[in-house]
Symmetry: C2
Amino acid sequence: MRKTDKIRIPQETIRRLALYLRSLRKLSQQNLTIVSSSQITNHLNVTSDQFRKDLSYFGSLGKPGVGYRVDELIEHLEKILGVDSERRIILAGVGKLGSALLAYPGFLNFNFRIVAAFDNDPVKIGKKREGIRIEDISRMREVVSRFGVRLAILAVPAESAQSVAEKLVECGIRGILNFAPVNLDLSQKVYVLDVDMGTELMALTYFSRRVLL
Amino acid sequence: MRKTDKIRIPQETIRRLALYLRSLRKLSQQNLTIVSSSQITNHLNVTSDQFRKDLSYFGSLGKPGVGYRVDELIEHLEKILGVDSERRIILAGVGKLGSALLAYPGFLNFNFRIVAAFDNDPVKIGKKREGIRIEDISRMREVVSRFGVRLAILAVPAESAQSVAEKLVECGIRGILNFAPVNLDLSQKVYVLDVDMGTELMALTYFSRRVLL
DNA sequence: CCTTGTGAAAACTTTCACAGCT
DNA sequence: AGCTGTGAAAGTTTTCACAAGG
C-alpha cells in the first residue's frame, strides 16, 4: 500500500508512530542495527501485529524473515511525521506552565526548537528565559514569517486563550498544542491538539476505580 | 441502559464526559437551568447525537421535548467520574514541570487537591511550594495512607520514572498521570495515563501538514 | 413541535491468520 | 525456520433515523 493511495490512515496510527520512534532510538543506543517488530513493541502497549499494520500504510519498510534496519526505519518515521529536519515553534504565554515548557528537554530530542516566546506582561517582555527572549505579541507576525514557524504552544490563561489563538492563526500558524482548558473555535485549516490536565485527571479517576472491579 | 448492564463503555465516552462537565459549568454560570444536548455540545467538537449516546450508557438523565437540568446533570456526571467529593492526589517530582503543576488552577476547579509533593533533592525537601511541603520519598507511604490518596502525578526525569512509579504502586497508588516520556511497566491493577508532549508535538506536526492538502 | 433515548446501519480500528520472501 | 505484509474477520465506536415523551 502506497502513500499515494487514498486509504485513510487511523489517527491512532500516527500517535503510535511517535512511540515507535522513541523505542527505535532506544534500540539504536543499544547498538542494535536490525530488529524485529516484536523487539520494537516489546516495552510498548502495542502488539507486533499492530506495529506491522501501522507501517503497512506507508509501504514495505522491513525484510521478511529478517526484520527492520534501525537507522533506516528511524529515518522513514521521521520523514512521515515531518520531524526529519528542525521544526521551529513558538510559545504563547510565559506563565508557570509556559516557563516549564520552555525548559522541557523532550522537545529538543525530537528536533523541535522554541524560537520565541510571547506574553502580554510588560514586566516579562524583553527578559530572557532559558535563553529565549520574551516578546510582545505585536512582534508575532514578524517572528513567524522570519523563522518559518508553523506550530505554536498555547499556554495562556483560559480567558485569553481564544483571542490569542486567533492571533496565532492570523500570523500563519497551522497547528496549535493547546494547554488552556477551553475549546478553541478556529478555522478548519488549523489543527488543534488539546492537552487538558483536568480532563485527564477526571478520566484517570474513573478508570483507576474501574480497574479494581 | 443501566450501569449494571455489562455493556462496555467506550473509553472516549469517559473523556467526553469530562468535557461535558466543563461545558455545563459554563452554562450554569450563565444562570441557565435547563439546556438541550445541542447547547451543551455547541462549543465542543462533539455532535449532540454523540452526547446523547454517551449519556445513554448511564441511564435516562434528560426529559424528551425539554432537555436536561443543568445542576442535576452536573451532579450526575461528577458522580459517574468520581469527582463528586474531593480527590486527594500527590505529586512526584518537583522540577520545573512539577512546580508548574503544583500551581495549576485547573485541578482545584474539579475537586482535585494536591496534598503532598515528593522529590529526592535534599535542597528542596522541607521547603514549601504553593503552600505544599516537599517531602522525602521515604514518607510517601505514610502520606498516602493518612490522606487516602489513590492518584499520583509523575513528573520526574525519564531515567527515574520507572523506579518512582514502582514506589508509588507499592504505596497503594491506583492511578498515575505520567508526564515522563517512557512506557511504565507496572501491575495491571494500576491505571496509567500518559501525557507526552513530545509525542503530541510530533502528531501535531503530521496533522497540521495534512490539513492543508 | 421540540427534544430525548436508542436500536440499527455505517464507519472505523484492531486482531487474526497465513502467503510469501530471506 | 523466521519474520514481514496484508486481506479478511472480528470488534469497537460513531452516525443515523425515528419512536415516544413533554
